[in-house]
């Protein structure tokens, strides 16, 4: 029992092994990682700085700036209406899924949302603007503002994904605490209002940002709505296109080859806003997890 005697080896505090310590990736993997990084940087560079790969770029003309401003305004309107509808229906859907739980109706609703989440946007646009708008115009001969219709369809298209994400968010928050409160006799709706929802504010903010990012990236629904001028009236002179749908149409109109400056301005704004939204979403998510 000599206090100066060295402690046995096994009683010494061991350093926690770190996952990446003493691990050297094989050459092929390192090569793949380097290749992937170079490829990613090349894609971003070719989109943002086309002159790097030899494509000529003209000086920015005032008309390009005007077009960009109109497109940004149109995009802001479409995205804000779509995100509002998606969040309203989606969060309500997520809350309903949580409330119904494992009851048969809850399971059915969950399956329906999963199926709807897998439907591609081109099919939604085809049904909404190729079939439904035509039928509705035969029934009700009134003009509808195209932009609003496109936004509503886009919002409803995004809603199932938001509902499933809301369900994941709500069910992952303090399940044990929730069960305890329920065990003490609290009603499910009260647990949801007073315990779950207040604790998920940051996660809902992250959800809103990711929904905005998805709405911003969808080109097909707006583009299909813009092509249905015969069925849906809208005031002439209003720019219908959003930023991505302008890019989508730029191939067919030749703008991608003829008016490169406008196209690259749009690309610049689109890439910048997508990356910013993703960054903000990740930051809010990490803040929420930190709490």
């Amino acid at each position: 029992l000599d206090p100066a005697a060295p402690k046995p080896e096994t009683l010494r505090p061991q350093a926690q092994p770190r996952r990446s310590d003493n691990r050297q990736a094989p050459f092929t993997l390192r090569l793949s990682a380097a290749l992937a990084a170079a490829l990613g940087v090349a894609v971003l560079a070719s989109l943002l700085f086309p002159s790097l790969i030899g494509l000529p770029t003209a000086a920015t003309a005032p008309s390009d700036a005007l077009l960009l401003a109109a497109l940004m305004q149109s995009t802001a309107v479409v995205v804000s209406i779509a995100v509002s509808i998606a969040l309203l229906c989606g969060v309500a859907g997520g809350v309903t899924l949580i409330e119904l739980g494992r009851r048969p109706w809850g399971q059915r609703l969950h399956t329906a949302y999963r199926l709807l989440n897998a439907v591609p946007s081109v099919v939604v646009g085809c049904v909404a603007f190729g079939l439904a708008s035509r039928s509705l115009t035969h029934l009700v001969p009134v003009g509808v503002a195209q932009r609003v219709v496109a936004s509503v369809v886009l919002g409803l298209f995004l809603a199932p994904g938001v509902a499933l994400a809301t369900e994941r968010t709500l069910s992952s928050d303090g399940a044990a605490l929730e069960e305890t409160v329920r065990g003490l006799g609290a009603q499910p709706s009260r647990v949801l209002r007073q315990l779950v929802l207040p604790g998920s504010t940051l996660k809902f903010s992250a959800l809103a940002f990711s929904t905005t990012s998805r709405a911003l990236g969808d080109a097909l629904i707006v583009s299909l709505a813009a092509s249905q001028k015969a069925w849906l009236d809208f005031p002439s002179g209003v720019v219908m296109d959003t930023l991505p749908s302008f890019l989508l149409d730029s191939g067919a109109t030749g703008a991608v080859a003829m008016n490169r400056t406008a196209v690259y301005l749009v690309v610049l704004v689109l890439v910048g806003s997508s990356i910013t939204l993703k960054g903000v979403c990740d930051w809010v998510q990490s803040e929420a997890e930190g709490r």
């Binding site: 691990r23 990682a33 990084a37 086309p50 790969i53 099919v123 509902a163 990236g217």
Partner: protein, 268 residues
């Protein structure tokens, strides 16, 4: 009063939750009604066949390009580059590339065609799709490998196994079923992706009209788009949309079958 408010809120919530489902059900009824009343012309049948074959070719070519790269990056990120600065930078790049709007990847294909690259139409369409898919596959693979418990790796390391041997004989066999399903899910998403192909198809049409060298690029999503757009949308767009939905459903069913087979297979 509180009980009434709670009841009203619940009713409004349920109404809002059911709204997308009800509208989607109406859309499905419309599609079925359209399919029953529409006449399948010889031209539409030929176009559907061409588009289906084109979609399969595009999917195979883009899978050939994106799956090896995506899986390799996923393995690197999950197993070797978790904490290194290089790994973090690569992960950030993969995350940023995965959120870019798909239409932007179509522009990369257009850039190549504008540069006069003599690409086969399948590869001209597959390259943007592969560029779009590899970050998704890398994220899926990283997630799948990270799910294998760390304690197993530590146990293997304690027994003297090298990291690569641990990965090859311990982690990889456990991850294969989920990885297969994840990759097929990404490919299903790719099958439905229309924006890059619509952009490329529009550019090729414009190039043909301008007398530039051009090729035909056929795919199911682009066919749905072109049949549904325009001032006179016909019933044919609905039929093409049904064909696309059937293709997606068939691929999903195949995924489930594949998952069951792979999960049942004896592991080394």
């Amino acid at each position: 009063v509180r009980a009434r408010v709670a009841l009203t809120v619940t009713a409004v919530c349920r109404g809002a939750a059911l709204l997308p489902v009800v509208i989607a059900a109406a859309g499905v009824l419309l599609l079925i009604e359209n399919a029953r009343s529409a006449e399948v012309s010889i031209h539409l049948g030929a176009a559907l066949r061409l588009a289906a074959v084109g979609s399969v070719e595009l999917l195979a070519a883009s899978a050939l390009l994106s799956v090896p790269l995506g899986v390799a990056v996923g393995i690197y990120l999950a197993e070797f580059g978790q904490r290194s600065a290089w790994g973090r930078a690569l992960r950030l790049l993969v995350h940023q590339l995965s959120v870019l709007p798909p239409v932007l990847y179509g522009l990369v294909g257009v850039h190549l065609l504008l540069r006069g690259a003599t690409l086969d139409p399948v590869w001209a369409g597959a390259l943007p799709l592969a560029l779009l898919a590899w970050p998704w596959i890398a994220q899926t693979a990283e997630d799948v490998f990270a799910r294998v418990p760390e304690a197993q790796r530590e146990a293997a390391a304690a027994l003297g196994a090298r990291p690569w041997s641990t990965f090859r004989w311990l982690v990889w066999p456990q991850a294969v079923p989920r990885l297969t399903v994840g990759i097929v899910q990404v490919l299903v998403r790719l099958l439905a992706e229309a924006a890059p192909l619509v952009l490329l198809q529009g550019f090729l049409r414009w190039a043909c009209a301008q007398g530039r060298p051009c090729h035909a690029l056929a795919s199911l999503p682009a066919l749905v788009f072109s049949l549904s757009s325009g001032t006179e949308p016909g019933q044919q767009g609905g039929l093409a949309a049904l064909a696309l939905l059937a293709a997606i459903a068939a691929t999903c069913w195949l995924t489930r079958v594949l998952y069951r087979r792979v999960a049942r297979a004896p592991q080394p």
